[in-house]
């Protein structure tokens, strides 16, 4: 392990790799502070261009971008009250009031330093998890790994709060799409409709771009609302904020620990974790009566938790090949494009330098991101007012070009548009999109593990103790998701009953108002559940 760590250090600390990390960090920061975009869109755009790169340079670029979008998103959250990414929403609760009180610099200083500590904490946990997870990962056979794939998918369904069944359905569709093309170990062509283009299946890049980039950009065109408005100015106080973070190290550690632990569970995205950390912070600090009104501790805890999440999410992604969310699903695809196969083989001695390079890059990128953010607070804060709607046409052109790089075929563009349409419709009809990508990513390994299990054990694999335990977890997670859905349905039922009662009283005007208020209650319930994504700036890109 020490040898591998030394090898990773020599890999990272070369001029070329540091330059790639810097490039990723800069892109991540820009994507983070432009509301409406985000790491997922950026990473899906980046994928076609990393093909053929040296694997370690590719890791530097991808991880560099992946882990600092959460740092950059503090700018719009604090200055404009708009989350740059879905994971940055709770920073608004105290960061924005602070900015309105003329303490924007203090809030940003605190947020950046807390983010850096959180990111480093996540990296350290990822590093420490290797010797612990290694025997566990290596003890798993194909049946257990197949069950882990199913659990990963079911947990992602929970992510689709209140729409668990729809989440499962969309996830299954993703798995089905992954089966298109030549079947493994046979000469069967599945669902290709005699199209030569489909023989090799559909590329992850196209699915990711179609599901995330296209709907987000379409919404920028479609929506009436102006995203950008006058941002608060940064008038010093950055060092004061950094001192605040240093004074609240226990809060940083607590937020980071919660963020990393929850990040390890597939399906619990940054957007959820962010609010959980905020809640935990508010409940554990003393004299919390200023929380929500501009308490710097309300910025520190969630920011630390948000950046530590990445380290946690990397654990199932790298060691089991199970992505926890959209960001890690794209990361997984990126690693595969670079010739690295995430999964149990990653903990083999010959692959340890790869994991440790990811850990090192995570730490270096967080330090770089924070240093850049702190030193460029004033110019970057002006860039947050960039009208995204005007960037959208340019991005569409880049997406078309990026999609074409997948197979250098016109079919790529058709597939891109098809997935863009599907995802846009799903989003507008309030169906979850993330399970589609997770299902697609998990489909291939799930089929491989399923086939191996069936050919080696027949149906006996179903009685293995590990499989039985995982089945119980699977049933539990689906049960939990259904219970959540019932809760949402109850709200709907109560709303409908309320409207019916109002109608019974016969007052037409009152009825109309009641309908409005019922709907408003439902809507506001929905909004409070998803406050982190309810603004125009936050396009929910990221249950990452």
């Amino acid at each position: 392990m020490i040898e591998a760590a030394l090898e990773a250090i020599t890999i990272i600390f070369t001029f070329e790799r540091l330059l790639w990390i810097l490039a990723g960090v800069l892109m991540g920061l820009v994507l983070g502070f432009i509301p409406g975009l985000g790491g997922v869109v950026g990473m899906s755009l980046l994928l076609p261009f990393i093909f053929g790169m040296d694997p370690y340079s590719g890791i530097a670029l991808l991880v560099g971008m992946f882990c600092v979008t959460q740092t950059g998103d503090s700018f719009p959250a604090v200055l404009m009250g708009i989350p740059g990414t879905s994971g940055g929403a709770s920073t608004i609760m105290d960061g924005y009031p602070m900015a309105r009180q003329g303490q924007a610099g203090r809030a940003l200083g605190a947020a950046f330093l807390a983010s850096m500590f959180g990111g480093i904490f996540g990296g350290v946990v990822l590093f420490l998890s290797i010797p612990i997870a290694r025997p566990l990962v290596l003890s798993f056979g194909s049946p257990e790994l197949f069950m882990i794939c199913l659990i990963g998918l079911s947990l992602v369904a929970i992510l689709s709060k209140g729409a668990a069944i729809k989440g499962i359905l969309v996830g299954l569709l993703g798995m089905m799409v992954s089966t298109i093309g030549l079947a493994p170990s046979t000469t069967d062509l599945r669902f290709t409709f005699d199209s030569l283009y489909l023989y090799n299946g559909i590329g992850l890049v196209l699915v990711a771009l179609g599901i995330f980039a296209i709907p987000e950009l379409l919404e920028l065109f479609v929506e009436d609302k102006q995203i950008s408005k006058k941002a608060a100015t940064v008038e010093g106080g950055v060092f004061q904020g950094m001192k605040d973070t240093m004074r609240n190290i226990p809060l940083v550690l607590q937020g980071s620990a919660v963020g990393t632990l929850l990040g390890m569970l597939p399906g619990i995205g940054g957007s959820v974790i962010n609010w959980v950390v905020y809640g935990v912070s508010a409940n554990t600090v003393r004299k919390n009566n200023r929380f929500g009104k501009g308490d710097v501790r309300g910025v520190i805890g969630p920011e630390a938790g948000q950046n530590s999440t990445e380290g946690g999410q990397m654990i199932p992604t790298l060691m089991f090949g199970i992505p926890g969310g959209a960001g890690t699903a794209i990361m997984l695809g990126g690693l595969i494009l670079l010739g690295i196969q995430p999964g149990p083989s990653m903990v083999e001695p010959e692959n340890l330098p790869i994991i440790l390079t990811v850990v090192g890059t995570l730490v270096v990128a967080n330090i770089m991101g924070t240093t850049l953010s702190l030193s460029l607070v004033k110019p970057i804060s002006k860039l947050t007012q960039l009208p995204v709607r005007r960037i959208a046409p340019f991005l569409i052109a880049v997406i078309v070009l990026a999609a074409y790089q997948t197979n250098y075929s016109w079919g790529d563009l058709f597939v891109l548009i098809a997935f863009g349409c599907i995802a846009f419709v799903l989003k507008q009809l309030q169906w979850p999109r993330v399970p589609l990508l997770i299902g697609f990513v998990l489909g291939t390994p799930a089929e491989r593990y399923f086939s191996v299990s069936m050919s080696r054990y027949g149906l006996d694999w179903l009685t293995r103790p590990g499989v039985l335990i995982m089945m119980a977890i699977l049933v539990l997670s689906i049960g939990l998701a259904l219970w959540q859905q019932k809760k949402v349905e109850r709200v709907v039922d109560e709303g409908a009953a309320h409207v019916a009662r109002a109608r019974d009283y016969g007052a037409y005007v009152d009825t109309t108002e009641s309908e409005g208020s019922t709907e408003r209650t439902l809507r506001s319930d929905n909004r409070s559940m998803s406050a982190e994504r309810s603004t125009a700036g936050d396009r929910g890109s990221d249950p990452e």
Binding site: M176, D188, R390, Q405, Q428, A536
Partner: protein, 179 residues
């Protein structure tokens, strides 16, 4: 806990959004039905395959059929109760434009993107991108003509730089073939 930014959306806007979304009720049943039909088609197409080839797709397709039937019943139940929301996904939609309008406008933009791709096929990527960026900036974002054209030129230069540096293959076009 209210999001300060969400306060910008007035109750009036929300009401408009909710009342208009009633038009989408039919679509709510249509979507799971499409899933069901897709799964059924997959079953039909998978049956003639070899055992190994069809095992996994069949397993997924049957699960999809089962789940989509559950969703259809759920949606029908909600519609009968005149509820607006069956089970809203966590992935949230816009608040200032109702879903119906968003779908309508969104598909218009998708058609425009398809038109852009067609022009790429006809005239090549750079010319098409120039036309696309300037027109969508002018009519989509309301930018003045001269700024729209200038932005398009700058945008194309950046893309050209990217293409040259990474030696990216470009889609072939009809103009190139003729010339």
């Amino acid at each position: 806990m209210s999001n300060p930014a969400s306060e910008e959306v007035t109750a009036g806007q929300v009401d408009t959004v909710t009342s208009e979304s009633k038009r989408l009720r039919g679509l709510r049943v249509l979507v799971p039905s499409v899933f069901f039909v897709a799964a059924l088609t997959a079953v039909i197409l998978a049956v003639p395959l070899s055992d190994i080839g069809r095992r996994f797709p069949l397993f997924i397709a049957l699960a999809m059929m089962l789940v989509s039937v559950v969703v259809i019943f759920q949606e029908l139940k909600v519609m009968r109760k005149k509820g607006e929301y069956s089970a809203a996904a966590y992935d949230y939609q816009m608040l200032t434009v109702d879903s119906f309008t968003a779908l309508h406008r969104g598909f218009l933009w998708i058609l425009l993107i398809i038109a852009f791709i067609s022009v790429v096929w006809l005239l090549g990527f750079f010319i098409a991108a120039g036309i696309w960026i300037s027109l969508s900036l002018r009519f989509g974002a309301g930018v003045k003509w001269k700024w729209a054209v200038l932005s398009a030129l700058i945008g194309i230069f950046i893309i050209w730089l990217l293409v040259s540096l990474l030696s990216l293959p470009m889609p072939s076009n009809l103009l190139e073939l003729i010339m």
